[in-house]
Amino acid sequence: MFASLLVWALIWEIVGRSGASLVIPPLSSVFARIVEIAPTPTFINALWITGRSFLLGNAIAILLGVPLGVMMGRSVVADRLLLPWVNMFLSAPLSALVPVIMVLFGLGDTTIILTVVLFAIWIIVLDARAGVRGISPSLVEMAKSFGANQWQAFSNIYVWAALPEILSGIRLGMIRAVKGVVIGQLLVSIVGFGSLFELYSSRFLMEHFWALLFMLFVFAFLLNEILAWLERKVEYYASSRQ
Protein backbone atom coordinates (compact mmCIF):
# COMPACT_ATOMS: atom_id res chain seq x y z
CA MET A 1 0.00 0.00 0.00
CA PHE A 2 2.84 2.31 0.89
CA ALA A 3 4.56 1.50 -2.43
CA SER A 4 1.44 2.41 -4.41
CA LEU A 5 1.23 5.71 -2.52
CA LEU A 6 4.79 6.42 -3.57
CA VAL A 7 3.99 5.70 -7.21
CA TRP A 8 1.04 8.07 -7.16
CA ALA A 9 3.09 10.72 -5.38
CA LEU A 10 5.72 10.39 -8.09
CA ILE A 11 3.15 10.77 -10.87
CA TRP A 12 1.75 13.84 -9.12
CA GLU A 13 5.24 15.33 -8.85
CA ILE A 14 5.92 14.75 -12.56
CA VAL A 15 2.57 16.18 -13.66
CA GLY A 16 3.12 19.15 -11.32
CA ARG A 17 6.60 19.86 -12.64
CA SER A 18 5.55 19.52 -16.28
CA GLY A 19 3.26 22.50 -15.72
CA ALA A 20 0.42 20.72 -17.51
CA SER A 21 -2.17 22.24 -15.23
CA LEU A 22 -2.19 25.34 -13.12
CA VAL A 23 -4.38 23.57 -10.59
CA ILE A 24 -1.75 20.92 -9.85
CA PRO A 25 1.47 22.23 -8.33
CA PRO A 26 4.34 19.77 -7.71
CA LEU A 27 3.76 17.66 -4.62
CA SER A 28 7.09 18.61 -3.08
CA SER A 29 6.15 22.29 -3.03
CA VAL A 30 2.78 21.41 -1.50
CA PHE A 31 4.61 19.71 1.35
CA ALA A 32 6.91 22.68 1.68
CA ARG A 33 3.79 24.85 2.04
CA ILE A 34 2.43 22.61 4.78
CA VAL A 35 5.57 23.22 6.80
CA GLU A 36 5.28 26.91 6.05
CA ILE A 37 1.55 27.33 6.79
CA ALA A 38 1.13 25.07 9.83
CA PRO A 39 2.89 27.32 12.39
CA THR A 40 1.26 30.59 11.25
CA PRO A 41 -1.24 32.26 13.64
CA THR A 42 -3.83 32.39 10.85
CA PHE A 43 -3.69 28.62 10.48
CA ILE A 44 -3.62 27.90 14.21
CA ASN A 45 -6.55 30.22 14.70
CA ALA A 46 -8.49 28.52 11.91
CA LEU A 47 -7.63 25.13 13.37
CA TRP A 48 -8.84 26.21 16.81
CA ILE A 49 -12.13 27.57 15.47
CA THR A 50 -12.69 24.53 13.30
CA GLY A 51 -11.68 22.07 15.99
CA ARG A 52 -13.97 23.72 18.50
CA SER A 53 -17.01 23.60 16.19
CA PHE A 54 -16.14 20.04 15.24
CA LEU A 55 -15.86 18.77 18.81
CA LEU A 56 -18.87 20.68 20.06
CA GLY A 57 -20.98 19.51 17.14
CA ASN A 58 -19.92 15.92 17.70
CA ALA A 59 -20.58 16.12 21.42
CA ILE A 60 -24.10 17.38 20.76
CA ALA A 61 -24.67 14.73 18.10
CA ILE A 62 -23.54 11.98 20.49
CA LEU A 63 -25.48 13.30 23.49
CA LEU A 64 -28.67 13.57 21.45
CA GLY A 65 -28.12 10.71 19.03
CA VAL A 66 -27.31 7.89 21.44
CA PRO A 67 -30.37 8.34 23.71
CA LEU A 68 -32.57 8.83 20.65
CA GLY A 69 -31.23 5.65 19.06
CA VAL A 70 -31.63 3.69 22.29
CA MET A 71 -35.19 4.97 22.61
CA MET A 72 -35.97 3.91 19.05
CA GLY A 73 -34.44 0.51 19.68
CA ARG A 74 -36.63 0.02 22.75
CA SER A 75 -39.93 1.55 21.77
CA VAL A 76 -41.88 0.44 18.74
CA VAL A 77 -43.90 3.67 18.73
CA ALA A 78 -40.83 5.91 18.78
CA ASP A 79 -39.25 3.75 16.09
CA ARG A 80 -42.24 3.97 13.75
CA LEU A 81 -42.48 7.72 14.30
CA LEU A 82 -38.83 8.57 13.82
CA LEU A 83 -37.21 5.94 11.63
CA PRO A 84 -38.46 7.32 8.29
CA TRP A 85 -37.03 10.73 9.17
CA VAL A 86 -33.70 9.35 10.31
CA ASN A 87 -33.37 7.30 7.14
CA MET A 88 -34.33 10.28 5.02
CA PHE A 89 -31.79 12.58 6.65
CA LEU A 90 -29.15 9.89 6.48
CA SER A 91 -29.28 9.79 2.71
CA ALA A 92 -30.41 13.36 2.01
CA PRO A 93 -28.00 15.85 0.42
CA LEU A 94 -27.51 17.74 3.67
CA SER A 95 -25.29 20.43 2.13
CA ALA A 96 -28.45 21.85 0.60
CA LEU A 97 -29.80 22.45 4.09
CA VAL A 98 -26.80 24.47 5.24
CA PRO A 99 -28.03 27.72 3.62
CA VAL A 100 -31.28 27.29 5.54
CA ILE A 101 -29.39 27.00 8.82
CA MET A 102 -27.36 30.01 7.72
CA VAL A 103 -30.51 32.07 7.25
CA LEU A 104 -31.81 30.99 10.66
CA PHE A 105 -28.63 31.24 12.70
CA GLY A 106 -26.42 33.66 10.87
CA LEU A 107 -22.88 33.43 9.60
CA GLY A 108 -21.22 32.34 12.83
CA ASP A 109 -20.11 29.36 14.86
CA THR A 110 -23.68 28.30 15.66
CA THR A 111 -24.32 27.55 12.00
CA ILE A 112 -21.12 25.52 11.71
CA ILE A 113 -21.85 23.56 14.89
CA LEU A 114 -25.40 22.81 13.76
CA THR A 115 -24.08 21.68 10.38
CA VAL A 116 -21.73 19.26 12.14
CA VAL A 117 -24.64 17.94 14.24
CA LEU A 118 -26.78 17.60 11.13
CA PHE A 119 -24.11 15.56 9.37
CA ALA A 120 -23.07 13.36 12.28
CA ILE A 121 -26.22 12.56 14.22
CA TRP A 122 -28.21 10.28 11.92
CA ILE A 123 -25.72 7.46 11.63
CA ILE A 124 -25.17 7.64 15.41
CA VAL A 125 -28.92 7.25 15.94
CA LEU A 126 -29.18 4.35 13.52
CA ASP A 127 -26.20 2.46 14.93
CA ALA A 128 -27.30 2.93 18.54
CA ARG A 129 -30.73 1.68 17.52
CA ALA A 130 -29.25 -1.38 15.83
CA GLY A 131 -27.06 -2.06 18.85
CA VAL A 132 -29.96 -1.90 21.27
CA ARG A 133 -32.08 -4.15 19.09
CA GLY A 134 -29.29 -6.72 19.26
CA ILE A 135 -29.18 -6.84 23.05
CA SER A 136 -30.02 -10.24 24.45
CA PRO A 137 -33.56 -10.04 25.88
CA SER A 138 -32.52 -11.86 29.03
CA LEU A 139 -30.05 -9.10 29.90
CA VAL A 140 -32.94 -6.63 29.76
CA GLU A 141 -35.10 -8.95 31.85
CA MET A 142 -32.24 -9.34 34.30
CA ALA A 143 -32.04 -5.60 34.84
CA LYS A 144 -35.82 -5.39 35.25
CA SER A 145 -36.05 -8.31 37.63
CA PHE A 146 -33.38 -6.79 39.87
CA GLY A 147 -35.40 -3.60 39.98
CA ALA A 148 -33.70 -1.30 37.47
CA ASN A 149 -35.66 1.82 36.59
CA GLN A 150 -35.60 3.32 33.07
CA TRP A 151 -32.53 5.44 33.71
CA GLN A 152 -30.60 2.61 35.38
CA ALA A 153 -31.44 0.27 32.52
CA PHE A 154 -30.27 2.89 30.02
CA SER A 155 -27.03 3.80 31.75
CA ASN A 156 -26.09 0.34 33.06
CA ILE A 157 -27.31 -2.00 30.34
CA TYR A 158 -28.36 -0.50 27.02
CA VAL A 159 -25.41 1.82 26.48
CA TRP A 160 -22.87 -0.82 27.44
CA ALA A 161 -24.47 -3.73 25.66
CA ALA A 162 -24.76 -1.65 22.51
CA LEU A 163 -21.33 -0.07 22.91
CA PRO A 164 -19.67 -1.74 19.89
CA GLU A 165 -22.41 -0.44 17.58
CA ILE A 166 -22.55 2.94 19.31
CA LEU A 167 -18.81 3.36 18.85
CA SER A 168 -18.93 2.48 15.20
CA GLY A 169 -21.81 4.94 14.82
CA ILE A 170 -19.70 7.62 16.48
CA ARG A 171 -16.76 6.82 14.21
CA LEU A 172 -18.88 7.03 11.07
CA GLY A 173 -20.56 10.12 12.49
CA MET A 174 -17.18 11.81 12.98
CA ILE A 175 -16.15 11.11 9.41
CA ARG A 176 -19.39 12.71 8.28
CA ALA A 177 -18.79 15.53 10.73
CA VAL A 178 -15.49 16.32 9.01
CA LYS A 179 -17.50 16.80 5.83
CA GLY A 180 -20.03 18.82 7.78
CA VAL A 181 -17.52 21.20 9.30
CA VAL A 182 -15.71 21.76 6.00
CA ILE A 183 -18.89 22.20 3.96
CA GLY A 184 -20.35 24.48 6.62
CA GLN A 185 -17.24 26.64 6.68
CA LEU A 186 -16.97 26.70 2.90
CA LEU A 187 -20.54 27.87 2.56
CA VAL A 188 -20.24 30.41 5.34
CA SER A 189 -16.72 31.12 4.05
CA ILE A 190 -15.74 33.69 6.64
CA VAL A 191 -14.75 31.39 9.51
CA GLY A 192 -12.02 28.86 10.12
CA PHE A 193 -10.70 26.77 7.29
CA GLY A 194 -13.55 28.03 5.12
CA SER A 195 -12.07 31.52 5.08
CA LEU A 196 -8.64 30.08 4.30
CA PHE A 197 -9.98 27.99 1.42
CA GLU A 198 -11.83 31.04 0.18
CA LEU A 199 -8.69 33.13 0.40
CA TYR A 200 -6.44 30.60 -1.30
CA SER A 201 -8.78 29.75 -4.13
CA SER A 202 -9.72 33.36 -4.88
CA ARG A 203 -6.03 34.28 -5.12
CA PHE A 204 -5.31 31.05 -6.93
CA LEU A 205 -2.74 29.93 -4.34
CA MET A 206 -2.91 26.28 -5.36
CA GLU A 207 0.03 25.13 -3.25
CA HIS A 208 -1.58 26.61 -0.15
CA PHE A 209 -4.91 25.15 -1.14
CA TRP A 210 -3.55 21.63 -1.51
CA ALA A 211 -1.50 21.94 1.66
CA LEU A 212 -4.64 22.72 3.65
CA LEU A 213 -6.57 19.91 1.97
CA PHE A 214 -3.78 17.47 2.74
CA MET A 215 -3.81 18.31 6.40
CA LEU A 216 -7.56 17.81 6.53
CA PHE A 217 -7.26 14.43 4.81
CA VAL A 218 -4.61 13.29 7.25
CA PHE A 219 -6.68 14.54 10.16
CA ALA A 220 -9.78 12.63 9.02
CA PHE A 221 -7.71 9.52 8.41
CA LEU A 222 -6.10 9.63 11.84
CA LEU A 223 -9.43 10.22 13.49
CA ASN A 224 -10.87 7.16 11.80
CA GLU A 225 -7.91 5.02 12.81
CA ILE A 226 -8.03 6.09 16.45
CA LEU A 227 -11.75 5.34 16.69
CA ALA A 228 -11.39 2.05 14.85
CA TRP A 229 -8.70 1.06 17.34
CA LEU A 230 -11.04 1.93 20.20
CA GLU A 231 -13.76 -0.16 18.58
CA ARG A 232 -11.49 -3.18 18.30
CA LYS A 233 -10.72 -2.86 21.99
CA VAL A 234 -14.35 -3.41 22.96
CA GLU A 235 -15.03 -5.98 20.28
CA TYR A 236 -15.10 -8.89 22.73
CA TYR A 237 -18.40 -7.57 24.02
CA ALA A 238 -19.98 -8.33 20.72
CA SER A 239 -18.65 -11.88 20.57
CA SER A 240 -19.71 -12.63 24.13
CA ARG A 241 -23.21 -11.33 23.56
CA GLN A 242 -24.34 -14.36 21.48
Partner: protein, 249 residues
Protein backbone atom coordinates in the same frame (compact mmCIF):
# COMPACT_ATOMS: atom_id res chain seq x y z
CA UNK B 1 -44.73 -18.41 50.37
CA UNK B 2 -46.09 -17.85 46.89
CA UNK B 3 -49.69 -18.44 45.84
CA UNK B 4 -51.34 -18.40 42.43
CA UNK B 5 -55.01 -18.02 41.73
CA UNK B 6 -56.53 -18.69 38.34
CA UNK B 7 -53.53 -17.65 36.29
CA UNK B 8 -54.26 -17.61 32.57
CA UNK B 9 -52.11 -16.19 29.82
CA UNK B 10 -53.15 -15.66 26.24
CA UNK B 11 -50.55 -14.08 24.01
CA UNK B 12 -51.35 -11.49 21.42
CA UNK B 13 -52.50 -13.38 18.37
CA UNK B 14 -54.53 -15.81 20.46
CA UNK B 15 -51.94 -18.39 21.57
CA UNK B 16 -53.22 -19.69 24.88
CA UNK B 17 -50.21 -20.57 27.03
CA UNK B 18 -51.70 -21.05 30.48
CA UNK B 19 -55.22 -21.89 31.56
CA UNK B 20 -56.49 -21.39 35.12
CA UNK B 21 -53.42 -22.36 37.10
CA UNK B 22 -53.91 -22.57 40.86
CA UNK B 23 -50.81 -23.41 42.86
CA UNK B 24 -49.02 -22.65 46.05
CA UNK B 25 -45.32 -22.79 46.74
CA UNK B 26 -44.44 -23.34 50.40
CA UNK B 27 -41.47 -21.71 52.05
CA UNK B 28 -38.29 -23.70 52.64
CA UNK B 29 -39.12 -26.05 49.78
CA UNK B 30 -38.23 -26.39 46.17
CA UNK B 31 -41.14 -26.75 43.79
CA UNK B 32 -40.41 -27.68 40.20
CA UNK B 33 -42.52 -26.83 37.20
CA UNK B 34 -42.15 -29.68 34.75
CA UNK B 35 -43.85 -30.29 31.48
CA UNK B 36 -43.51 -30.88 27.75
CA UNK B 37 -41.48 -28.28 25.89
CA UNK B 38 -43.44 -25.17 25.01
CA UNK B 39 -45.96 -25.81 27.77
CA UNK B 40 -45.50 -22.40 29.34
CA UNK B 41 -43.41 -23.28 32.40
CA UNK B 42 -41.05 -20.39 31.80
CA UNK B 43 -44.02 -18.09 31.16
CA UNK B 44 -45.46 -19.08 34.50
CA UNK B 45 -42.14 -18.44 36.25
CA UNK B 46 -41.83 -15.03 34.60
CA UNK B 47 -45.33 -14.18 35.74
CA UNK B 48 -44.21 -14.86 39.31
CA UNK B 49 -41.14 -12.72 38.64
CA UNK B 50 -43.36 -9.87 37.45
CA UNK B 51 -41.66 -9.82 34.05
CA UNK B 52 -44.83 -10.93 32.24
CA UNK B 53 -48.30 -9.97 33.35
CA UNK B 54 -51.02 -12.63 33.27
CA UNK B 55 -54.15 -12.15 31.19
CA UNK B 56 -56.17 -13.01 34.27
CA UNK B 57 -55.57 -14.28 37.78
CA UNK B 58 -53.32 -13.19 40.58
CA UNK B 59 -50.01 -14.10 42.15
CA UNK B 60 -49.48 -13.39 45.83
CA UNK B 61 -46.03 -13.26 47.40
CA UNK B 62 -46.23 -13.20 51.18
CA UNK B 63 -49.84 -12.18 50.77
CA UNK B 64 -49.11 -9.17 48.53
CA UNK B 65 -50.20 -9.22 44.89
CA UNK B 66 -47.44 -9.12 42.25
CA UNK B 67 -47.61 -6.11 39.95
CA UNK B 68 -44.00 -6.15 38.74
CA UNK B 69 -40.54 -7.25 39.79
CA UNK B 70 -39.81 -6.83 43.49
CA UNK B 71 -36.92 -7.10 45.92
CA UNK B 72 -38.37 -10.17 47.60
CA UNK B 73 -37.90 -12.19 44.40
CA UNK B 74 -34.67 -12.97 42.54
CA UNK B 75 -34.27 -14.66 39.18
CA UNK B 76 -31.64 -17.06 37.87
CA UNK B 77 -31.53 -17.09 34.09
CA UNK B 78 -31.10 -19.99 31.73
CA UNK B 79 -28.45 -18.14 29.70
CA UNK B 80 -26.89 -16.61 32.86
CA UNK B 81 -27.63 -13.01 31.71
CA UNK B 82 -24.31 -11.68 32.95
CA UNK B 83 -22.99 -8.30 31.88
CA UNK B 84 -19.96 -9.17 29.70
CA UNK B 85 -18.36 -5.77 30.36
CA UNK B 86 -18.44 -6.16 34.13
CA UNK B 87 -16.30 -8.21 36.50
CA UNK B 88 -17.66 -11.08 38.57
CA UNK B 89 -17.67 -8.72 41.55
CA UNK B 90 -19.81 -6.13 39.80
CA UNK B 91 -22.12 -8.73 38.30
CA UNK B 92 -22.78 -10.33 41.66
CA UNK B 93 -23.28 -6.97 43.34
CA UNK B 94 -25.48 -5.62 40.53
CA UNK B 95 -28.80 -6.17 42.29
CA UNK B 96 -27.47 -4.30 45.33
CA UNK B 97 -25.99 -1.57 43.13
CA UNK B 98 -29.43 -0.98 41.60
CA UNK B 99 -30.85 -0.62 45.09
CA UNK B 100 -28.33 2.05 45.91
CA UNK B 101 -26.23 0.02 48.36
CA UNK B 102 -22.84 1.72 48.78
CA UNK B 103 -19.79 0.29 47.06
CA UNK B 104 -17.91 -0.98 50.13
CA UNK B 105 -20.97 -2.65 51.58
CA UNK B 106 -22.12 -4.31 48.36
CA UNK B 107 -18.63 -5.56 47.58
CA UNK B 108 -18.39 -7.12 51.03
CA UNK B 109 -21.72 -8.88 50.48
CA UNK B 110 -20.80 -9.89 46.93
CA UNK B 111 -17.49 -11.28 48.12
CA UNK B 112 -19.24 -13.45 50.65
CA UNK B 113 -21.60 -14.95 48.05
CA UNK B 114 -18.85 -15.35 45.46
CA UNK B 115 -16.98 -17.44 48.01
CA UNK B 116 -20.25 -19.20 48.84
CA UNK B 117 -20.65 -20.50 45.29
CA UNK B 118 -17.01 -21.54 45.17
CA UNK B 119 -15.60 -18.75 43.02
CA UNK B 120 -13.21 -17.22 45.53
CA UNK B 121 -10.29 -15.71 43.64
CA UNK B 122 -12.35 -14.94 40.53
CA UNK B 123 -13.77 -11.63 41.81
CA UNK B 124 -12.02 -9.55 39.17
CA UNK B 125 -12.45 -12.04 36.31
CA UNK B 126 -14.78 -11.25 33.41
CA UNK B 127 -17.58 -13.58 32.27
CA UNK B 128 -15.83 -14.48 29.01
CA UNK B 129 -12.92 -15.85 31.05
CA UNK B 130 -15.19 -18.31 32.89
CA UNK B 131 -16.66 -21.66 31.88
CA UNK B 132 -20.43 -22.08 31.49
CA UNK B 133 -20.73 -23.68 34.92
CA UNK B 134 -18.78 -20.90 36.58
CA UNK B 135 -20.90 -18.28 34.83
CA UNK B 136 -24.06 -19.83 36.22
CA UNK B 137 -22.48 -19.78 39.68
CA UNK B 138 -22.08 -16.05 39.20
CA UNK B 139 -25.75 -15.83 38.20
CA UNK B 140 -26.69 -17.77 41.31
CA UNK B 141 -24.50 -15.63 43.57
CA UNK B 142 -26.11 -12.49 42.12
CA UNK B 143 -29.57 -13.84 42.95
CA UNK B 144 -28.49 -14.87 46.46
CA UNK B 145 -26.74 -11.57 47.17
CA UNK B 146 -30.00 -9.60 47.17
CA UNK B 147 -31.25 -11.94 49.92
CA UNK B 148 -34.67 -12.44 48.34
CA UNK B 149 -37.22 -14.71 49.98
CA UNK B 150 -38.20 -16.27 46.68
CA UNK B 151 -35.66 -17.70 44.27
CA UNK B 152 -36.89 -18.24 40.73
CA UNK B 153 -34.73 -20.50 38.58
CA UNK B 154 -35.38 -20.88 34.87
CA UNK B 155 -33.67 -24.05 33.62
CA UNK B 156 -30.51 -22.85 35.33
CA UNK B 157 -28.46 -25.95 34.59
CA UNK B 158 -29.53 -26.64 31.04
CA UNK B 159 -26.62 -24.76 29.48
CA UNK B 160 -23.88 -26.49 31.46
CA UNK B 161 -22.27 -29.88 30.88
CA UNK B 162 -23.48 -33.06 32.59
CA UNK B 163 -20.79 -33.35 35.28
CA UNK B 164 -21.19 -29.71 36.28
CA UNK B 165 -24.92 -30.19 36.26
CA UNK B 166 -24.78 -33.01 38.78
CA UNK B 167 -22.52 -31.00 41.05
CA UNK B 168 -24.95 -28.09 40.75
CA UNK B 169 -27.89 -30.26 41.71
CA UNK B 170 -26.08 -31.45 44.83
CA UNK B 171 -25.12 -27.88 45.74
CA UNK B 172 -28.71 -26.82 45.23
CA UNK B 173 -29.97 -29.46 47.69
CA UNK B 174 -27.47 -28.19 50.20
CA UNK B 175 -28.64 -24.60 49.58
CA UNK B 176 -32.30 -25.53 50.12
CA UNK B 177 -31.36 -27.16 53.41
CA UNK B 178 -29.43 -24.10 54.51
CA UNK B 179 -31.60 -21.16 53.43
CA UNK B 180 -35.25 -20.74 54.27
CA UNK B 181 -36.38 -19.54 50.91
CA UNK B 182 -39.14 -20.44 48.51
CA UNK B 183 -37.50 -22.05 45.50
CA UNK B 184 -39.37 -22.27 42.21
CA UNK B 185 -37.48 -24.23 39.63
CA UNK B 186 -38.19 -24.86 35.96
CA UNK B 187 -36.65 -27.76 34.12
CA UNK B 188 -37.40 -30.10 31.25
CA UNK B 189 -35.38 -32.91 32.82
CA UNK B 190 -37.46 -35.43 34.77
CA UNK B 191 -34.42 -36.81 36.61
CA UNK B 192 -33.34 -33.35 37.65
CA UNK B 193 -36.85 -32.46 38.80
CA UNK B 194 -37.19 -35.54 40.96
CA UNK B 195 -33.66 -35.25 42.30
CA UNK B 196 -33.89 -31.66 43.57
CA UNK B 197 -37.59 -31.15 44.29
CA UNK B 198 -39.77 -31.40 47.32
CA UNK B 199 -42.71 -31.07 44.97
CA UNK B 200 -42.99 -31.54 41.23
CA UNK B 201 -45.83 -29.80 39.43
CA UNK B 202 -46.65 -31.48 36.14
CA UNK B 203 -48.08 -29.18 33.52
CA UNK B 204 -50.00 -30.44 30.53
CA UNK B 205 -49.49 -29.36 26.97
CA UNK B 206 -50.63 -25.90 25.85
CA UNK B 207 -52.94 -24.44 27.04
CA UNK B 208 -51.30 -25.68 30.23
CA UNK B 209 -53.15 -26.84 33.27
CA UNK B 210 -51.79 -28.50 36.35
CA UNK B 211 -52.07 -32.19 35.55
CA UNK B 212 -50.51 -33.55 38.75
CA UNK B 213 -48.52 -32.55 41.81
CA UNK B 214 -46.05 -35.18 42.93
CA UNK B 215 -44.11 -35.14 46.18
CA UNK B 216 -41.14 -37.45 45.78
CA UNK B 217 -40.60 -39.09 49.14
CA UNK B 218 -36.83 -39.43 48.96
CA UNK B 219 -34.46 -39.22 51.92
CA UNK B 220 -32.28 -36.18 51.28
CA UNK B 221 -29.71 -36.79 53.99
CA UNK B 222 -26.41 -38.51 53.46
CA UNK B 223 -24.64 -39.40 50.26
CA UNK B 224 -26.10 -37.55 47.26
CA UNK B 225 -25.08 -40.48 45.06
CA UNK B 226 -27.40 -42.73 47.06
CA UNK B 227 -30.39 -40.71 45.93
CA UNK B 228 -29.71 -41.52 42.30
CA UNK B 229 -29.88 -45.23 43.15
CA UNK B 230 -32.82 -44.88 45.55
CA UNK B 231 -35.75 -47.00 44.35
CA UNK B 232 -38.36 -44.32 45.17
CA UNK B 233 -36.31 -41.89 43.07
CA UNK B 234 -36.22 -44.27 40.13
CA UNK B 235 -39.90 -45.16 40.44
CA UNK B 236 -40.95 -41.52 40.60
CA UNK B 237 -38.91 -40.73 37.50
CA UNK B 238 -40.55 -43.64 35.73
CA UNK B 239 -44.10 -42.71 36.73
CA UNK B 240 -43.61 -39.10 35.65
CA UNK B 241 -42.26 -40.32 32.34
CA UNK B 242 -45.33 -42.52 31.89
CA UNK B 243 -47.50 -39.49 32.55
CA UNK B 244 -45.61 -37.23 30.15
CA UNK B 245 -45.19 -39.78 27.38
CA UNK B 246 -48.62 -39.03 25.96
CA UNK B 247 -47.48 -35.47 25.10
CA UNK B 248 -44.42 -36.56 23.15
CA UNK B 249 -44.80 -36.85 19.36
Amino acid sequence: MVEMFGISKTYEGGVEALNEINLDFPEGQLTTLLGPSGCGKTTLLKIVAGLISPTSGEVLVEGRPVTGPGPERAFVFQDFALMPWASVMRNVGFGLELRGVGRAKREAIAEKYIAGVGLKGFESAYPHELSGGMRQRVGLARALAVDAKVLLMDEPFSAVDEQTRRKFQEDLLELIGRERKTFIFVTHSIEEAVYVSDRVVLLSRRPSRVSAVIEPDIPRQGDPEKIRRNSTYLDTVESIWQGLKQYVE
